[in-house]
């Protein structure tokens, strides 16, 4: 038999996580630009930097930054 209480708890868990990950509009874009600006000071970036912000079950924010670089500027200077 399906456990309705468990289903409700799972639904609630998803809702609470969704509420917590509802960052202000444009927040992720601001972080993305900052990350791109910082990384481009050290590396020759290839393409766009992507930032993914999520919340795990314990309420911690998980931030994933994805970027590709063709070279490291600091090494070139050396």
């Amino acid at each position: 038999m399906t456990d309705i209480g468990d289903m409700a708890a799972n639904r609630l868990r998803r809702l609470l996580l969704s509420d917590k990950s509802a960052l202000p509009a444009g927040f992720t874009e601001v972080v993305r630009r900052e990350a791109e600006r910082t990384l481009s000071g050290y590396m020759d970036l290839k393409g766009r930097v992507d930032v993914l912000i999520d919340v795990d079950e314990s309420g911690l924010y998980r931030i994933e930054i994805r970027a590709a670089a063709e070279g490291i500027i600091a090494c070139k200077r050396i």
């Binding site: 456990d3 309705i4 209480g5 468990d6 409700a8 639904r11 609630l12 609470l16």
Partner: protein, 263 residues
């Protein structure tokens, strides 16, 4: 110095006023000198729940504007060390400033062991006024997804205040549904909201009836035992939580659950 506790929820209709009044009675029954303050300015109901609505000559606003002395706006519930200060019913909520409210609570602090503030529903100015005057918060929810979600939002806001403690009361829990695994478990709610349970209160028709008659402290049913346990936890940290499933266990319990479902 008294302990000032705001009873709040987020979602309306979860039984905040009933919980405030019942906790007050349970505290007073243990001899704890308790004052209940209706923080729901303009939409006051605490006096009605206690059957004191016709006894109030003055209210909170009268004290603040100097129309009466503090003692004149405080009513005693007959037979108990339980007192109530009715809310201002003839003014708009915005007219009662948070600073003035805090000053009033500070003045009253020396005269009572516990002050329970019945917070207005929602997260507007009235919420800030009540919470900013408090040291502890009790968040009331029911085991419904929407109520718990709103409780979570309120808890997020509460974390911005310098409170000494936040705990949860899960109200109106149906033991038959809980025994069959058909409703959210209070312990799971506590785990998801990440705050401790102060109490679990069963759904209780007698509370509804007593509330309508203005005799909320007179209920002699299972909810009374549940409130007594919650108050024990508040005073001594006993950690006893009422089990609403108890009467739905065993053969008799299964029959009771079956007939309740059919009803």
């Amino acid at each position: 110095m008294s302990n000032t506790v705001v009873v709040t929820s987020g979602k309306g209709g979860v039984g905040k006023t009933t919980v405030t009044a019942s906790m007050g009675f349970a505290l007073a029954a243990r001899g704890v000198n308790t004052l209940l303050i209706d923080g729901d300015v303009g939409l006051n109901n605490l006096d009605v729940a206690l059957g004191m609505e016709n006894r109030a000559a003055y209210d909170m606003a009268d004290v603040m504007t100097g129309k009466c002395r503090v003692a004149q706006a405080i009513l005693q519930v007959p037979g108990y060390p339980l007192y109530i200060m009715p809310s201002a019913h003839a003014v708009y909520s915005e007219q009662i400033k948070a600073g003035d409210f805090r000053a009033l609570i500070a003045r009253l602090g020396g005269s009572f062991d516990y002050i329970l503030i019945d917070c207005p529903a929602g997260i507007e100015g009235g919420f800030h006024r009540a919470v900013s005057a408090s040291e502890y918060a009790i968040v009331v929810t029911t085991p419904h997804v929407s109520a718990v979600r709103d409780a979570d939002k309120v808890i997020t806001l509460l974390s911005g205040y310098e409170l000494r403690g936040i705990s949860l009361i899960v109200n109106r829990v149906r033991g038959d549904l809980l025994a069959r695994g058909e409703t959210l478990e209070p312990k799971e709610i506590s785990r998801l909201l990440r705050y401790p349970l102060l109490g679990v209160i069963p759904e209780d028709d007698e509370i509804t009836v007593c509330s309508q008659l203005g005799r909320i402290g007179m209920a002699e049913s299972s909810s009374r035992a549940a409130f007594e346990m919650a108050v024990g936890n508040m005073l001594t940290g006993e950690g006893r939580i009422y089990d609403p499933t108890a009467k739905y266990r065993g053969i008799i319990g299964a029959l009771r659950s079956h007939f309740r479902r059919r009803a």
